[in-house]
């Protein structure tokens, strides 16, 4: 428990954030959010803020309510008590959905064998409103750009059912990117994907974050790859969320404590992320 107190940067920062809650550089803020599925809360009195251009990796053991937290952030779930604000407005009244992109945890599992090409799937993320059937020029351009950004132009005519896990994740990323969102929320995008593809994926996220200024919140178990590229780490455990603004303060011991087990390959990741090479 020592680390929860000593490294709980988010809690102290919270007070200051509140005075300027209309500040536009706030992407998401949760204030006193409690949420449970059947009575017993899985998140208790959570306070956190995601600012524009943040790159936050959320970690935590299975069942820690990471996915729940993300669904609350994007308004797929509504809090029992407390408040969630997206770009300054209450999530219940939020309507600018093109500003956020979300890829759910089971996106890939659910859709194996769906009879659509990569291009068709990515295009389905471009929704400009009811009955707008013929915005084809704008859509085609946006699709093309999203495919380029994620480097999968060469896959555009392939059936999504024929792709590997790593390729599929890029398709989902492109589908989320096609509406040119300001923030991306990705739930375990690299679980079940080989190490090389996973690394490539996080590098891509880092590029989007640095070059396009897209805010990234990503839930991950790929601690090594994510730590190398994320700017902040969020730990979800026991119904609480702690954001570490300075990634260097998160040591292997902290991660082991949060996850409840040690990760052998992590020492390599730490030896690189402790270097001041991070920009």
């Amino acid at each position: 428990m020592k680390f929860e107190i000593s490294n709980c940067a988010a809690e102290s920062a919270e007070g200051e954030m509140h005075k300027k809650s209309q500040d536009t550089d706030e992407v998401v803020s949760l204030t006193g959010v409690t949420f449970g599925y059947n009575g017993t809360p899985v998140l208790k009195d959570v306070n956190l803020t995601v600012k524009a251009k943040d790159f936050i990796a959320l970690i935590g053991p299975n069942g820690a309510a990471k996915s729940t937290l993300m669904k609350l952030m994007v308004g797929l779930l509504l809090p029992r008590t407390g408040e969630v604000r997206l770009f300054g407005s209450d999530v219940r009244r939020f309507g600018q959905w093109h500003r956020i992109g979300y890829v759910s945890q089971n996106a890939v599992r659910v859709n194996t064998g769906f009879p659509a090409t990569v291009e068709e799937v990515v295009a389905s993320g471009f929704y400009s409103g009811f009955g707008k059937l013929f915005d084809t020029a704008g859509r085609r351009k946006a699709v093309q750009q999203a495919l380029e950004m994620t480097g999968i132009q060469n896959l555009s005519r392939r059936l999504v059912g024929e792709l590997s896990g790593g390729q599929l994740q890029k398709v989902f990323l492109a589908k989320a990117l096609v509406k040119k969102p300001e923030a991306l929320f990705l739930d375990e995008p690299t679980t079940g994907i080989d190490a090389a593809s996973s690394k490539e994926f996080y590098t891509l996220l880092k590029e989007l974050n640095m070059r396009e200024g897209i805010t990234v919140v990503v839930i991950t178990h790929d601690i090594g790859a994510a730590f190398d590229r994320a700017a902040k780490i969020g730990c979800v455990r026991n119904g609480k969320v702690y954001i570490h603004d300075n990634i260097d303060e998160v040591t292997q011991e902290h991660v082991a404590e949060v996850l409840g087990y040690r990760i052998p390959e992590l020492s390599a990741a730490f030896s690189t992320s402790q270097n001041p090479k991070k920009s």
Partner: protein, 265 residues
């Protein structure tokens, strides 16, 4: 093509082709949303509407339309209560509809040739006014599908992210189930209540085996359905068979051929 000189055959063909296009294009979405049984549920409800019409003396075809639309709304209502077990809603409506149909039929003691035509379809059953209803309502359904195509695709692919694109998912789902109900009721005249579902699911199954894009999925499903209906009507006329059964057998034969040639490759 001398069979086209019969008025009833012309009507059966027009009604059949419209039915085929509707059932198969709706069927693609239905199958992708893992609601393959929805056609069965709704057609059993339609059958109870037919029975109610025969018992209380209104036109059974209207009964089919009304009852299956009500059943559609009921399915959406139960589905919300069993979010993780959507099939429960389908099973409840299917058995409920069948139970109601059986009770109404036994009350009216109306097990006659007319009922038989509603069960298995009939070539001579499509009256001129039936044909007009099928054309009118069919056009309405097709237009709705075209307008909602992008929404339906997005929802079928990933409901959560469709919600996050700002699509009114619940409203679209309810409307779609209502369209399905209307399409099922329309199909009842030509293929019969017991076989409607097959005309939705089998062409979709063929296209899932072969299509290389979503657009092709639609094209293939509609093509298979239209071919099955036209050839089925023709054969059932020549050999004096029930059209519904003949149509479904042809579609099934196509599916089996596709699956086995795919296995051979």
């Amino acid at each position: 093509m001398y069979i086209l000189t019969f008025d009833f055959m012309q009507r059966a063909l027009v009604a059949g082709v419209i039915t085929a296009v509707l059932a198969s294009s709706i069927g693609v979405f239905v199958v992708l949303r893992r609601m393959s049984l929805v056609g069965d549920s709704l057609s059993h409800a339609a059958l109870s509407g037919v029975a109610a019409g025969m018992l209380f003396g209104f036109y059974p075809f209207y009964g089919a339309l009304a009852f299956s639309a009500l059943a559609a709304l009921f399915i959406e209502y139960i589905r919300k209560a069993f979010e993780r077990y959507a099939e429960v809603a389908l099973a409840v409506v299917m058995s409920g509809g069948m139970g109601l149909a059986v009770v109404l039929i036994s009350l009216g003691k109306s097990f006659n040739a007319d009922l038989f035509s509603y069960l298995f379809g009939s070539l001579v059953a499509v009256s001129p006014s039936d044909a007009w209803i099928i054309c009118g309502v069919g056009l309405f359904i097709l237009l709705s599908l075209v307008i909602l195509f992008r929404e339906l695709f997005a929802i079928a692919f990933d409901e959560e992210s469709a919600r996050l694109s700002g699509i009114p998912v619940d409203a679209v789902n309810t409307y779609f189930t209502l369209l399905t109900a209307l399409a099922v009721a329309l199909s009842v005249r030509v293929v019969g209540t017991l076989l409607v579902s097959a005309l939705m699911v089998i062409p979709a199954a063929v296209s899932l085996q072969t299509a290389k894009s979503f657009r092709a999925t639609f094209g293939i499903a509609v093509g298979v359905a239209v071919f099955s209906v036209i050839s089925g009507l023709y054969i059932s006329f020549i050999l004096n068979l029930a059209p519904g059964g003949t149509i479904v057998l042809i579609a099934t034969a196509i599916l089996m051929t596709v699956i086995s040639t795919k296995k051979l490759q």
